[in-house]
């Protein structure tokens, strides 16, 4: 349970980091696109 919570916090922090980064450096949008694709959970892809 605690492990899952830690993972959720890590993902949230990562999203915040990229949101701030893209705000300052919009030319990095391809990086954000790739990060967004990586957030699609495995179980959704296998449905």
């Amino acid at each position: 349970m605690r492990k899952v919570k830690t993972q959720k916090i890590a993902i949230l922090l990562e999203i915040c980091f990229f949101a701030v980064l893209i705000g300052f450096y919009p030319f990095l949008w391809p990086v954000l696109l790739f990060v967004a694709l990586s957030y699609i959970p495995a179980k959704v892809l296998k449905k």
Partner: protein, 313 residues
């Protein structure tokens, strides 16, 4: 049928191909509208490669991937006729989109489509060959995606062979690990993969060496930018740690999770390289920004995705 096309496309593979197209375009000096055609091409190409491979491997997959929802031929989601319609459509779409890149784009795509058949169909059936299989697969996916991105940009500079070679080696290191989950079916069908021939320890050691070689080439290709080098070192340490664990892990489920972590570290490294190339060509950035932005992205993505295994990976 659309759902089956998406399943043949394998979003994770497409995401990596997309990233490589962007890396190629960024290495050529910028993003062009033709990059969009390149991205669509990657979808068509991936559907082609996976559909023919799934078709020829359907009996092995029925053993290895009984409960995998992303194998429409195993789950019986599509008819034979629908399958061939999807497959033929992927050929047509790949070749038609290649026209955006001129004759060299069409020729390269035709070669890659032929390699897809040689990889899966007898008499060549490269997928069964211990050494050629990971080498050819890595070169095809990496070189094709990267080059299409590179060609998408008008007046592109000299082709960056060093960077392409580094990316190919990294992909090879990853592909050596893909057979961990398939051991049972591969054994039953006499498919002598690198893993079955040499065992988990040798496979993980070779993968680790390839990762190191890839790191050195990419570092050289980016003129040893410290942001890139530091991120690569962090990534390599993590990968070697997980490879060590993988070599000693007897459970297939755990092996799958570890391989997924290593793949995420690899993808993180590609992202960091992309960020580096985008920063280098951007005017108005200070020297320290050019170094620190890729470093920050590299550390966040590589550490964020490579420190722990995800139970649902």
């Amino acid at each position: 049928m659309l759902r089956s096309i998406i399943k043949f496309a394998r979003i994770r593979i497409i995401a990596t191909c997309f990233a490589l197209v962007f890396v190629g375009a960024a290495a050529a000096g910028g993003l062009d509208l033709r990059v969009a055609a390149g991205l669509l091409m990657m979808i068509a190409f991936t559907v082609h490669a996976n559909s023919i491979n799934d078709y020829t491997d359907r009996e092995i997959d029925a053993i290895n991937l009984q409960n995998a929802g992303d194998r429409p031929l195993v789950s019986g989601d599509i008819s034979n006729r629908q399958f061939w319609l999807i497959h033929a459509g992927s050929v047509a779409a790949t070749l038609a989109l290649s026209a955006f890149f001129g004759w060299r784009g069409v020729v390269l795509s035709a070669i890659v489509l032929l390699i897809d058949y040689a990889y899966s169909i007898r008499p060549l059936r490269i997928t069964d060959r211990t050494f050629l299989s990971p080498v050819l697969l890595a070169i095809t996916y990496t070189y094709y995606s990267f080059t299409i991105g590179f060609w998408a940009v008008a007046n592109s500079p000299t082709y960056p062979w060093l960077l392409t070679a580094g990316l190919c080696l990294g992909f090879m290191a990853r592909l050596l690990l893909k057979d961990f989950r398939d051991v049972k079916g591969d054994q039953q069908h006499g498919k002598l993969t690198f893993l079955l021939r040499f065992g988990p320890r040798v496979t993980t050691v070779v993968s680790g060496v390839l990762w190191a070689a890839s790191m050195l080439l990419v570092a050289a290709a980016t003129s040893y930018a410290y942001g890139v080098v530091l991120s690569l070192i962090v990534g390599a340490l993590l990968v070697w740690y997980w490879l060590y664990k993988l070599a000693r892990c007897p459970q297939i489920r755990e092996q799958e999770q570890i391989v997924a972590v290593i793949a995420r570290v690899g993808n993180g490294a590609i992202l960091m390289i992309l960020a580096h190339l985008l920063c280098v060509q951007q005017t108005g950035l200070s020297t320290s920004e050019v170094q620190l932005i890729p470093l920050a992205i590299g550390i966040v993505v590589i550490l964020g995705k490579g420190l722990y295994v995800r139970p649902n990976a």
